[in-house]
């Protein structure tokens, strides 16, 4: 009897929220980023961008029945899964949010997804989790990301190298989840495309001397050395030791190795080296920068555009489903993000909401040229560059 009562109550509750879904004056969106912890310097502009998108939708008066969108911030800590889970639990049960922008780091994002979001049927759009493991996570169609998976970078890297006619490379990676994940995805993509990786060796960050590591890499040989490391850490040490010992003089750099230090430390010593870094020549990036300036945050900081896009996608999907209930709008996210439809750039949310209200179709491009593929993650846009005369020069966007 008791069980029956509980079940009835639960059914009544869910039904209640479903009914309330369609016509409400208030929409609440959770923003769960690591406001404390290792990426605390990145998160304030990210959150500001997401809130800017919400403000824009509120002011347009076009969302649902002229609903107000209220952001609710929570701290994911980036590294502490239990703290992040508790924060997300609070967003859903006590703040009663209708969607979540976040989380940020891959580890806590996975924890919130499996422990809270799936259990409560809540939609999450992460702007910055790039772990390939999240592509296959059990998500009931609730999880999306506006950042590309690192697996995608492995494929892009393979295309770049294959186009240059490079068949044999040595590979070294920084010994952590990022380095290992990227190295593995690159190796499988490269070997799948007919290339061969002569050696895949880890290097530890923060050592003074990498000549032993380079000795092993040189013994294995290859046309060039792929360095999946960090520019201000061991990656630079490996490059330096390789140049010094004459083991390699051309390299390929994934995103962690991109930065002004590359020109400063090595200059023309690494002429002919190549690399790729997330980036787009879409006009959205420029308007994001301008909007950031106008609202007092840095629109070019990492994952800021992705955060704006994540918040925008949730609201556009709500409009398309004419409901703020995650169960209703989760299926609409892919529709609003991809073609066909009118292209929408940052700052045009009002226009987009109006088009959808009038029964039209939108293709949200946003700040980062969003194109959701596979299990709902960004296809990713990369800028391919080359070191020429000691300067980083853009080859093309892909």
């Amino acid at each position: 009897m008791k069980k029956l009562l509980m079940a009835t109550a639960a059914v009544a509750l869910t039904a209640g929220t479903a009914f309330a879904g369609g016509h409400a004056k208030e929409v609440k969106l959770g923003i769960i980023f690591g406001f404390t912890g290792p990426i605390e310097s990145l998160t304030p502009p990210m959150a500001a961008a997401a809130e800017l998108a919400m403000k824009e939708a509120t002011e347009s008066g076009m969302l649902l029945d002229a609903a107000t969108v209220t952001p609710v911030r929570a701290d994911s800590t980036c590294v502490d899964a239990s703290a992040a889970t508790a924060a997300a639990e609070r967003l859903i049960t006590s703040d009663k949010v209708n969607g979540i922008v976040g989380a940020d780091c891959s580890g806590v994002t996975g924890a919130i997804l499996s422990n809270v979001a799936v259990a409560n049927g809540m939609v999450m759009i992460s702007p910055s989790a790039t772990s390939p493991a999240l592509s296959t996570a059990e998500d009931n169609g609730l999880f999306f990301r506006t950042a590309p998976s690192d697996a995608r970078q492995g494929v892009v890297m393979t295309e770049v190298l294959m186009e240059m006619g490079i068949q044999e490379v040595a590979l070294t990676y920084t010994n952590n989840d990022y380095g290992k994940g990227l190295a593995d995805s690159f190796q499988s993509a490269f070997e799948g495309a007919g290339g061969s990786v002569t050696i895949s060796a880890a290097h530890e960050d923060g050592k003074a001397d990498y000549s032993a590591e380079v000795g092993a890499l040189a013994a294995a040989g290859g046309d060039l050395l792929v360095v999946a490391g960090y520019l201000d850490q061991g990656g630079s040490g490996v490059v330096r030791a390789s140049i010094d010992s004459g083991a390699f003089d051309t390299f390929h750099f994934p995103d962690g190795m991109y930065g002004a230090l590359l020109e400063e430390n090595f200059g023309s010593e690494i002429d002919g080296s190549t690399g790729q870094v997330p980036g787009t020549d879409s006009p959205g990036a420029a308007s994001m920068r301008a909007m950031g300036e106008a609202n007092g945050f840095d629109g070019t900081s990492s994952f800021v555009g992705e955060s704006y896009d994540a918040a925008a996608l949730i609201m556009l999907a709500m409009q398309a489903a004419n409901s703020k209930d995650p169960a209703d709008y989760k299926g609409k996210i892919m529709d609003v993000a991809n073609a066909p439809g009118e292209k929408i750039y940052p700052g045009e949310l009002g226009k987009a909401l109006e088009i959808i209200k009038n029964g039209g179709d939108v293709d949200y491009v946003g700040a980062t040229a969003v194109e959701l593929i596979g299990p709902g993650e960004s296809a990713g846009n990369y800028r391919q560059y080359k070191i020429d005369g000691g300067k980083i020069t853009t080859v093309k966007y892909r």
Binding site: A201, A212, V214, A219, A220
Partner: protein, 336 residues
């Protein structure tokens, strides 16, 4: 031709780096062994003393560079070396006055002094980070190479390149000079002889009128000079980062113990034994063997005994083997 190529590849990746690294370890181990021989405790603060001396050298080098003073092809850090040695001497004398002298007067057991030196280590560690920060600092300048790999290939027409960095050449030269000076001092001067006498038998030395405080002071001065030279050479050759000097403590102690604690000759031999084992065991021999072996015997794998991640484990293993089978070290030192 193949034989020459093999030899060049071996020199480039094994012999030259190991000789430079061995010289740096030997200088560090000499400091540890002197403290052990004369003050009778294992000085855990030695790595951070090196870091402190090197830090002063870095700061002074930057100052010289900003004024445009340099040595042409040689690194400016050589000019800064005397200042750095003086600064480091000041620091160790100060710690001796404030910390170690108290325990010496108490006739504290060596194990207590070891723990005290660990405390000193943490203080120095913090001091260095506080002044210069925990990050990487670049201070090398001048000509980078004596011979660069590309020039060597053009010169000889061999397939393998040989690179000798200025810092590597400098390391060996400076280490030889420092060791020669040290041995001359210990064997030929009155103070050196009294230091050895004090080390051999403290009571007998005191009876014959040797002033212990003077011996202790000279020991610290020499140790500070050796530590600074080792620290600066290591920083020039690799890079300056406080944490790295802390990590260097293990191979340095391993060298001193392998050679025989308290025996200066042993410290030098120990430094090279550790350096060569670390490098040869973690080197991938594929390239060298490919030149030497006939085609059908060419290895397909990397022929690497241990991955480079285990570099420090090599020092540990040698340390264990020596302590188990020859506790006094290769040269007759004091047992630990």
């Amino acid at each position: 031709m193949d034989f020459l190529n093999a030899l060049v590849a071996l020199s480039n990746f094994v012999l030259i780096p190991a000789i430079a690294y061995g010289s740096q370890l030997a200088l560090g181990a000499l400091g540890v062994t002197l403290i052990y021989g004369i003050l009778r405790f294992s000085n855990f603060a030695h790595g951070d003393t090196m870091a402190f001396g090197a830090m002063i050298a870095v700061l002074v080098t930057w100052w010289f560079q900003s004024m445009g003073i340099g040595l042409g092809p040689l690194p400016t850090a050589l000019l800064a070396l005397p200042v750095a040695i003086a600064g480091c001497m000041l620091l160790v004398l100060l710690t001796d006055r404030l910390v170690y002298r108290f325990y010496r007067e108490q006739k504290a057991k060596p194990v207590i002094l070891v723990i005290v030196s660990m405390g000193v280590m943490f203080i120095m560690n913090g001091l260095v980070r506080f002044i210069i920060g925990p990050g990487d600092q670049r201070f090398s300048d001048g000509e980078r190479f004596l011979i660069s790999a590309r020039e060597f290939k053009q010169m000889t027409g061999l397939r393998e390149g040989l690179a000798i960095k200025t810092s590597q050449g400098l390391t060996v030269v400076v280490a030889v000079i420092a060791v020669a000076l040290l041995f001359w001092f210990l064997n030929r001067t009155r103070t050196g002889k009294s230091m050895r006498a004090y080390s051999d038998n403290e009571d007998l030395a005191l009876l014959s009128g040797i002033n212990p405080e003077r011996v202790v002071m000279y020991t610290w001065l020499i140790v500070a000079a050796l530590a600074t030279v080792a620290g600066v050479l290591y920083g020039l050759d690799k890079s300056f980062k406080p944490f790295v000097y802390f990590q260097l403590l293990l191979p340095i102690f391993a060298s001193a113990i392998v050679g025989g604690l308290g025996n200066p000759l042993g410290a030098i031999a120990g430094g090279f034994v550790i350096a060569f084992s670390e490098v040869t065991i973690t080197y991938a021999w594929k390239k060298v063997l490919k030149y030497l072996l006939p085609e059908n015997l060419e290895p397909s794998g990397l022929v690497q005994l241990l991955s480079t991640d285990y570099k420090f484990a090599v020092s540990f293993m040698i340390l264990l083997i020596v302590l188990l089978f020859k506790p006094t070290g290769l040269f007759k030192g004091k047992s630990v």
